[in-house]
Symmetry: C2
Subunit: 208 residues, 2 copies
DNA sequence: CACTGCCAAACGACCGTTCGTTTGGAGGCC
DNA sequence: GGCCTCCAAACGAACGGTCGTTTGGCAGTG
């Protein structure tokens, strides 16, 4: 009965399977999907190659689990930002901070989500693409609100602004290394600040 | 004699080898390095697997050629922006526009440079890392100049600002598809505009 | 006794690389 | 022109090894 109420959200993965997905996330992010063999994965878990197939259907299914889980985490945070009762800049800030927090707190899964999803077969990739599109739509909606409310410049191209925000968040995995001076939240705040206010001094108008 | 004057710059690759590197760039960017077999590459060139080894040393050497060539193109453009006689915002704009132009005009090589370089062996990867560091240093220098000259906000963190600019440029490969409405130059200009001026209206001061 | 979780072995396919040989010209010499 | 030499380019078979996946059995637990 409670299964019916939570049909898709609570992925009914057995504990052992969750361990395997976690190990796969780490290996896929380090070595890439094609660079990771089932032997690597089995070694990391201390068992034989073939034994994995008692828990999973295929290597690709494993990739999908990692990628899909990553997508869901971003979506969840995005939805929270979208539904805030606040002006656009605050919601945008929340989205970007949430994005970077998610990317860093689950660095392996986020890396796989961003880098390796394209190796999914067409059908599975399409399901991930839908979630990406939905996320981007949320971001655009916030930016459009900001323009309509007169808080953002009226001449900004919504699509480009959204891409810039996503670029800031999506490239994090490429340079972030644990143990840095700043935590995920502070990193997100600083990027949001820069994106909102820009590099130029407000008084400087010498630029074209 | 003239060989001695240009010892390293003019990569002395035979024409056939250049074809192979080009095909490798395309395949590596599409399927990933580990997802591309020598059979794939041979098929794309219309010859046998083993015949490739008359022209190249190894698969990894091929990856290095693609990645290194990509790095050199970015460096060249960065140097041009750094040496401009102009205020910081103009030089920053030039760097970002050049970056995106390079990324799009050589989309395959740029994708491989950004995504697949980490699969190089330690020694080769280090040589690429040096070029990346040099490029980032150029960008930081421009930003520092902008602050020193009073054109950029004095409170911007140089490292973060540089990362934001690089994020904008480096994520391009992930969404750009040929045949869009805007060309590389216009895309770079718009990103630069957004990064310099920010999203907020100048009059809006309600945001913390 | 049934069930889980894993092992050990095997499957055919494909991996990157090596190697001896063949091919089609280009250039020098009579 | 006819002949010989040389060479770059590619072939096609083979190397040892690894790939992802399947299968049958066995020990341990409820």
């Amino acid at each position: 009965m409670s299964q019916l109420l939570a049909p898709q959200t609570a992925t009914d993965h057995t504990p052992r399977r969750r361990e395997i997905i976690g190990a796969a996330a780490r290996l896929f992010s380090e070595r890439g999907y094609h660079g990771t063999s089932m032997q690597h994965l089995a070694d990391a878990l201390g068992l034989q190659r073939g034994s994995l197939y008692a828990h999973i259907g295929s290597k690709e299914e494993l990739l999908f689990d990692v990628v899909n889980e990553g997508a869901d985490r971003f979506l969840e945070r995005g939805r929270a930002a979208l539904e805030m009762q606040a002006i656009a800049s605050v919601r945008l800030r929340r989205l970007l901070v949430g994005h970077i927090e998610t990317a860093i707190e689950h660095l392996d899964a986020a890396t796989v989500f961003l880098n390796e999803w394209r190796y999914l077969s067409e059908e599975l990739r399409a399901r991930v693409q839908d979630k990406r599109d939905a996320y981007e739509a949320m971001l655009k909606e916030i930016i459009e609100d900001g323009i309509a409310q007169g808080q953002f410049r009226p001449d900004v191209n919504v699509r480009f602004a959204a891409r810039l925000v996503l670029s800031a968040g999506n490239w994090t995995y490429a340079w972030y290394r644990p143990g840095g001076e700043l935590g995920p939240t502070e990193i997100g705040q600083r990027f949001a600040e820069l994106l909102l206010k820009g590099l130029l001094q407000e008084t400087a108008e010498g630029d074209r």
